[in-house]
């Protein structure tokens, strides 16, 4: 049975009983078979098969994408949880270390160390005062950090804004007069 014969099934088997004995006969036979196949709806079946395979492929693709995104989100979620634990731990360690340093630099410890090193408290009668141009007496400490506080990554609009929000914002921005638009 020919390939086309297999595809079209029993309805196209009847012509196979006669065997042509030259090339022209084969050609005529093939043309006839194609015509028969067309008449029997082969094209219709092939389209359905292709459509079915395409749907399956799409579903598989979507499933793969979903799994990928879900897995990535899960991993990111775990990383967030882990990083948050690290942050808390590091903050505790920082506080602990600061207290340890303060203990090592406490007044009593420093006095003991100074005495061991041979220092003695100054006698006020031995002090000499001189004028130092440009000198200003020390002022109480300022504890404000020069570092700019970093905002959480997720506070950026990219993480909170929906597509609708974004489009609305773009439309609103586009409708602004040129003079008010941000450059």
């Amino acid at each position: 049975m020919t390939l086309i014969g297999k595809l079209i099934g029993s309805r196209s088997r009847k012509p196979a009983t006669t065997r042509p004995d030259n090339i022209h006969a084969y050609h005529a036979e093939a043309v006839r078979l194609v015509a028969v196949a067309r008449e029997s709806g082969l094209r219709f079946q092939r389209q359905w098969v292709i459509f079915f395979v395409a749907v399956i492929g799409m579903l598989a693709l979507l499933a793969a994408l979903y799994l990928n995104v879900t897995a990535s989100a899960s991993i990111a979620g775990r990383q967030i949880q882990s990083l948050e634990i690290d942050i808390v731990t590091n903050e505790q360690v920082n506080a602990d270390l600061e207290t340890q340093i303060a203990t090592l630099m406490s007044d009593s410890v420093l006095q003991q160390r100074a005495q061991v090193m041979g220092f003695v408290p100054v006698d006020r009668t031995k002090l000499e005062y001189i004028v130092v141009p440009g000198y200003f007496p020390s002022r109480p400490v300022s504890m404000v950090s020069a570092a700019v506080p970093v905002e959480a990554l997720t506070s950026s609009p990219e993480f909170n804004e929906t597509l609708i929000d974004w489009i609305s914002k773009q439309v609103a921005a586009a409708s602004l007069p040129l003079s008010e638009a941000k450059h």
Partner: protein, 583 residues
Amino acid sequence: MKKTYQVRSLSLSMLFAVLGSVIVFQIIRIQNSPEAALFLQQGARYAGSLETLFPERGQIYDRNGNLLAGNRTVYEVGVSLADVRNPNSIALALSVTLGLDYDKTLNSIKNPPTGTVYLVLDDFVDSDKARALQDLQQQLVDQYKAAGDASLAGLGFRAHLQRSYPENSLASNVIGFVNREGHGYYGVEEKYNDLLAGLPVTVWVPEDPNRAEELPKVPKGADLILTINREIQAMVETELQKGVTDSGAQAGTAVVIDPHNGEILAMASTPEMNLNDFWQYGSIYKNASEFNRAVSMQYEPGSVFKILTMAAAIDTGTVAPHTTYLDTGYFEIGGSYIYNWDQGAWGTQDMIGCLEHSLNVCLARVASLMGKDQFYTYMQRFGIGHKTGIDLAMEADGRLKTPTDSDWYEVDLGTNSFGQGVAVSPIQLITAASAIANDGKMVYPHVLYGMVSNGHQYNTPSQTLGTPISPQTARTVTEMLATALEDGKSVARVDGYRIAGKTGTAQIPGPNGLYDPTLTNASFIGWGPVDDPKFLVFVWLDRPISSGWASYVASPVFHNIVEKLVVLLGIPPDDVRHQLTGQ
């Protein structure tokens, strides 16, 4: 044959269809059953947990940024009951390392309360001990791996922060302490507890990583910067303790304040307490007012009060520095007699001599001349009998009887004029005296220099509580006090520095209202340099034994403090200062 297969196929199809229908029916039934809500609750219970995030308690610094109160890591030790393999080993390890009772621990692990999953066995364990336990746990896991018996399996550690005080007892009376529940008591820790503690946040933490969200940032409590200078505080505590020991006093108090802005540079009170051992509070103090006598204890101040009477008299024009009177040794007022401290008559005296010799008769006469209305108006302007509003917990009110009170008598005008029959807290007296040291302006005493929150520092502005006397009066009284110290060759003086001050020796009233003949409160208040006061120092020794007189026990303490204070504050002697100013 073909028919048989058809029957079988049909039967199987029917069976599976029925089974499927039953399953679908059961799903729908369960979802709509009365227990559905319960199932949902159970599901939700395991979907995550509510966790309260406690912010780190704010730190406390002195004015130069030295840490006075911080936080350190400690551990909660417990067991996950489902993972415990060998309760005996855990009980033994905890009894050896942490000193827990072996039997109690073992019993707790073997017979936990019903429904307990995790059992806390100890808390606030030092990191050294927790680390030792963790190391032991790991060693035993390695050793017992072959036998399949992880000896300390199930033992868990949870780190958290606990208040810690690197300077131990330094400035303990100002700082206060925090108990294990995280609540501040006394001093700054109590007064600013809400600021220091911050706001805890309760959040839902899902188990599902897909629903994991960034936890909200819990800002730590505000950091506080105090006006206290650590070095001055340590020096004042040392000198005060020396004074208490030398005089045999029951307790003592010393305060150093900047009279221009009310910043308290040092505030010491004995006995002190190591704040890291706060549970010893009960064995150190008999009552709450002893924790910080400078703020919470009120007493009859005695002769140091005379500076206020004299200031009022000068301000009203009742007397002038060189107004004289004849001291006969007694003064009759309200049917009672007022005598001098030595029961003697001092002859003709001016107002400087009156202060120099601390003559009760003089001040009673001056108050009488001034009149009760003016006298009490001025005392109220000085804030006597009212809280100053200092930012420390448990400030005492004091008591000033006035003519409108039912228990006030005419003689009270006389006794109040030299500091008897009136109760003040040291900080009240210091605040009142700041008006004399600061050109008539009475400053608000405070220990908070600034607060740091969310990266911003908010400094406390200096405030004036009032102007009870004129600048001229303030300068006149200061000059009178300085001259009195110099003429009297007081031991309080410090060579090279002109200082104004006054002693105060007050008898102590007993429970029956009569004054004890032997026990006294000895105090000294002074400021300097006279032409531009940079410090105001107050010393009070409670019931000194070596001598009851303030000039013998309190003045030396004042002298010793000022002698070191001028070095720490970088105040040159007056002549050098004038010379440098001229350059």
